[in-house]
């Protein structure tokens, strides 16, 4: 329950945003209000005065809320929200989990049995480093979201979108590797035109191995994002609900 529950509830009723963006905005507003309240207290204002000062400071007019809604309702936000919404149903989460498991096991066996990495471009090590960073970040977020969610309620989402960004970087870098290696194969063919077929086949082999590394890494990070984003939304919805509880 928040000391600003009434004001937040009033704002919530006037916010024209879909969930989970609405909960997210309310949580941010609550966190900012609490920060400001703490600052007033540190300046020596008594509790009630500080609370009134916060409410006076925060512009909760309809126009201000409309602007706030516009900031949080960008096309990117809408797309990400729509995307993450696909994993809300249990069957969808189960299917995504199975697909993630299949990708991890399938490409894992290629890594172990077929020497995938030794055939891929040397730049594939960069892709693996990015995957490692993403997985480490994911584990860190899992620790927060599943074991200490209350500590950072308003900022639970911070860092989750980073995983999606890394997945995008994986894909872009993977294709960049393929083109760089094609150029290098072209140079090799130029110096030995009689061996063009073997160089082209070698490039295709390397390209397929590199793309498997890039795409499987991106998909694993993407699946991780789905689960963390879903967990974040559920936590934020619960926290927003608690914020408004006092007013009900």
């Amino acid at each position: 329950m928040s000391r600003f529950a009434k004001a937040l509830s009033d704002a919530a009723s006037r916010l024209t945003l879909p969930e989970p963006v609405r909960s997210r905005v309310l949580l941010e507003m609550a966190a900012d209000m609490e920060d400001l309240h703490r600052a007033y207290l540190e300046r020596g204002l008594p509790e009630e005065k500080a609370r009134e000062a916060v409410l006076e400071h925060f512009d909760l007019s309809q126009e201000a809320l409309r602007e706030l809604a516009a900031v949080h309702d960008s096309p990117l936000e809408r797309s990400l929200t729509s995307l993450s919404g696909q994993a809300h149903r249990p069957w969808a989460r189960t299917l995504l989990g199975l697909l993630g498991l299949f990708v991890a096991l399938g490409t894992g066996s290629l890594f172990l049995e077929a020497g995938l990495l030794s055939r891929a471009s040397s730049l594939a090590w960069v892709l693996l480093a990015i995957l490692a960073v993403g997985l480490a970040g994911g584990v860190w977020k899992i620790r927060i979201l599943y074991f200490a969610p209350a500590a950072v309620e308003s900022r639970t989402r911070t860092g989750v979108s980073f995983l999606l960004g890394l997945a995008g970087v994986q894909v872009v870098l993977g294709f960049a590797c393929v083109w760089v290696e094609l150029y290098r194969s072209g140079l090799r063919i130029r110096s030995a035109p009689g061996e063009a077929l073997i160089h082209i086949v070698g490039w295709m082999h390397m390209a397929s191995a590199t793309l498997v590394v890039a795409l499987s890494g991106a998909l694993i990070l993407g699946f991780l994002w789905f689960f963390l984003e879903g967990r974040t939304q559920r936590l934020q919805a619960a926290a927003a609900s608690r914020l408004l509880e006092a007013d009900r």
Binding site: S82, G85, Q86, L99, T107, M204, S208, L211, L219
Partner: protein
């Protein structure tokens, strides 16, 4: 259909599940549109978004599946002993299936999503029959898609026995045709024919073949194995090629009647016995003549052609006979014709020798005793031990005695400055002029020698000094060329009639249609056996072979010949004023010399005989 599922590999179930999910969501969309629900347009929009999401997931996973399958296919291909464009293409066709399936699911999902967006945009969410009408026929496209992927319904017609008809393995640009035979003495045998552009290219007999129940097992001469299960009723063999290096590849065979591949056999089916006919006059001034008027029994020619048609000479493409300077037989087999250029293989060496004679005749090369290093001033510094003693004659007689290993001598090919430097870097390891050894690579030095001596590359020099005087207008000599230097040990392609022109010119002591082309002394010297060619009966001149065969009356008869692997021959019988040219594809079947037996048994006894 089962082949299609197998070809998908582990990605098949994933694509199937995603396809079912997308189809179920599409049906839900259709149901919602057809029968209004309480949830209204938001439910429809959400379902459409889910549809698009799973469609995109199918496309992405399909692409990952393609990359994985391509990686596995290419790993196998790179482990194989030979890499052919056809095998690479086959691997890629299979690896594309997951991506095609993923894109198909995505396209379907996107189409439905687009329809929903359109309907929602028009506010015509409910009770419109348009979307169901659009969706219901879509499943009907599945058979079309399967047919596009080359998957017809199972149960195609098949033969009663494995040795009826042929079994095909398409692998563009080749179609490999597997022909089985069942002999009480030999058991099951198999020959693999390589057919390109409708014409047979080579034939390779299997080293071993067995059929136990429906389990087929074949061994190839290069160590590759084929194992599969025969489905006679379905006209299929589901099998794999297992390479000696450890890789393997799916290689399903399909049955086809023999009539579908008429060029697989020397003569078209139901062709009657061969009756001698005078060759067609091509109008180029080279006379054709009746065999009898040239002193050759037509029946002997008929017997020889019939023997070829029976397969006694293996896979022969053409048989030409000229006597007294006139062409008297010009017959082709397996669908080949006079316009088809044929790879001469090592007959190219003998023609290269003629080019050296022409350069000497023109004064561009001082003589065969010229030191080889004189032709390679830039490479002289890097020459191996003993090169100072080597002359052009040592090269022409295959007696340079360089220290090549037997494997290098047989398999190394290459031309151009790098190849010349590589050859010159070898040291002399034996007795030049005495130790004969057949080394392909050494002959390629002639490309550098002709360029240095004449200022022209071999092909241009040949065109000016040999081909044009003989009326040869079509040839190909670009395969294996490097920086303009031709491969002199075996890449020239000529029409059989043009090979015969060269044979007739050589047989006439360098004269063609009354005009001297090449010095007679050079011809004599280049055909004369300078050395014994290995342990066999053959002698070796200037890149020409010589041996004795049983003549018309059984007496030894000398024959000089250009000898290209696979039965490419220009045979010159000086005593009979007879030239025989053959081209063939006997590289892999052990029948390279089989035509020689046919000629000795059927043709030579009829030469000189004039019927009453």
């Amino acid at each position: 259909m089962r082949e299609l599922i197998r070809a998908f590999g582990p990605w098949g179930p994933i694509m199937l599940v995603l396809g079912v999910v997308v189809l179920a969501l599409a049906l839900r969309v259709a149901w919602t549109v057809a029968r209004p629900t309480r949830q209204g347009s938001s439910d429809l929009a959400e379902t459409a978004k889910a549809l698009l999401f799973w469609g995109v997931a199918a496309a992405v996973l399909g692409f990952l599946g393609q990359c994985s399958a391509a990686f596995m296919a290419l790993s196998t291909i790179l482990a194989a002993p030979e890499i052919s464009a056809a095998v690479v293409a086959e691997g890629f066709v299979i690896s594309f299936l997951p991506a095609l399936a993923g894109m198909g699911i995505f396209a379907f999902a996107a189409a439905v999503w687009g329809c929903v967006r359109f309907l929602l945009g028009r506010g015509a969410r409910t009770a419109t029959p348009v979307l169901p009408a659009l969706l219901i026929p879509l499943p009907l496209l599945i058979p079309v898609a399967l047919a596009t992927l080359g998957c017809g319904p199972d149960g195609a017609r098949g033969p009663a026995e494995i040795h009826e008809g042929v079994w095909t393995l398409p692998a563009d640009p080749s179609v490999f045709l597997w022909e089985f035979a069942s002999d009480p003495g030999e058991g099951l045998t198999c020959i693999v024919h390589d057919v390109q552009g409708g014409l047979k290219y080579t034939e390779t007999p299997c080293a071993s073949a067995s059929l136990a129940g429906d389990s087929l097992s074949l061994g190839m001469p290069n160590g590759t194995r084929y194992v599969g299960r025969v489905d006679l009723a379905g006209g299929r063999v589901r099998g794999r090629l297992l390479y000696p290096g450890g890789g393997s590849m799916d290689a399903p065979l399909r049955w086809a009647p023999r009539e579908d591949y008429p060029t697989l056999w020397p003569a078209a089916p139901n062709t009657g016995p061969f009756v001698y006919r005078v060759p067609a006059d091509s109008g180029d001034g080279w006379p054709v003549a009746q065999a009898a008027s040239a002193g050759v029994d037509p029946a002997a020619l008929e017997r020889a052609v019939e023997a070829v048609r029976r397969g006694e000479a293996g896979f022969l493409k053409s048989l030409l006979v000229a006597r007294g300077g006139s062409l008297i037989l010009d017959e082709y087999f397996h669908g080949y014709g006079p316009g088809d250029l044929s790879p001469l293989a090592s007959c190219t060496k003998s023609i290269s020798s003629l080019l050296v004679g022409l350069a000497i005749q023109n004064g561009q090369i001082p003589g065969v005793d010229t030191p080889l290093l004189d032709f390679f001033p830039a490479e002289r510094a890097g020459a191996g031990t003993g090169w100072g003693d080597l002359t052009l004659e040592h090269l022409l007689t295959m007696s340079m005695a360089l220290d090549w290993s037997p494997e290098e001598a047989e398999t190394l090919h290459g031309t151009g400055p790098d190849a010349f430097r590589h050859i010159l870097s070898r040291k002399v390891g034996g007795r030049p002029g005495e130790d004969w050894a057949y080394v392909n690579m050494n002959v390629n030095l002639l490309a550098g020698i002709l360029r240095q001596a004449t200022g022209e590359h071999a092909e241009a020099f040949a065109q000016r000094t040999l081909f044009e005087p003989l009326g040869i207008r079509a040839w190909s000599w670009d395969w294996g060329s490097q920086d303009g230097y031709n491969l002199m040990d075996g890449s020239l392609r000529l029409a059989p009639r043009d090979m015969a022109r060269i044979g007739v010119m050589v047989a006439s002591g360098g004269v063609w249609k009354g005009q001297r082309v090449l010095d007679e002394a050079w011809i004599r010297e280049s055909l004369r056996p300078h050395l014994q060619a290995g342990p066999g009966p053959e002698g070796y001149g200037y890149l020409w072979w010589t041996m004795e065969v049983p003549g018309p009356q059984g007496a030894p008869l000398q024959v000089h010949f250009a000898n290209g692997w696979g039965s490419q021959f220009i045979l010159i019988f000086p005593a009979l004023d007879l030239v025989v040219v053959t081209t063939g594809g006997n590289q892999e079947n052990g029948k390279h010399l089989a035509i020689g037996e046919v000629l000795v048994r059927e043709l030579l006894p009829g030469v000189g005989h004039r019927p009453a």
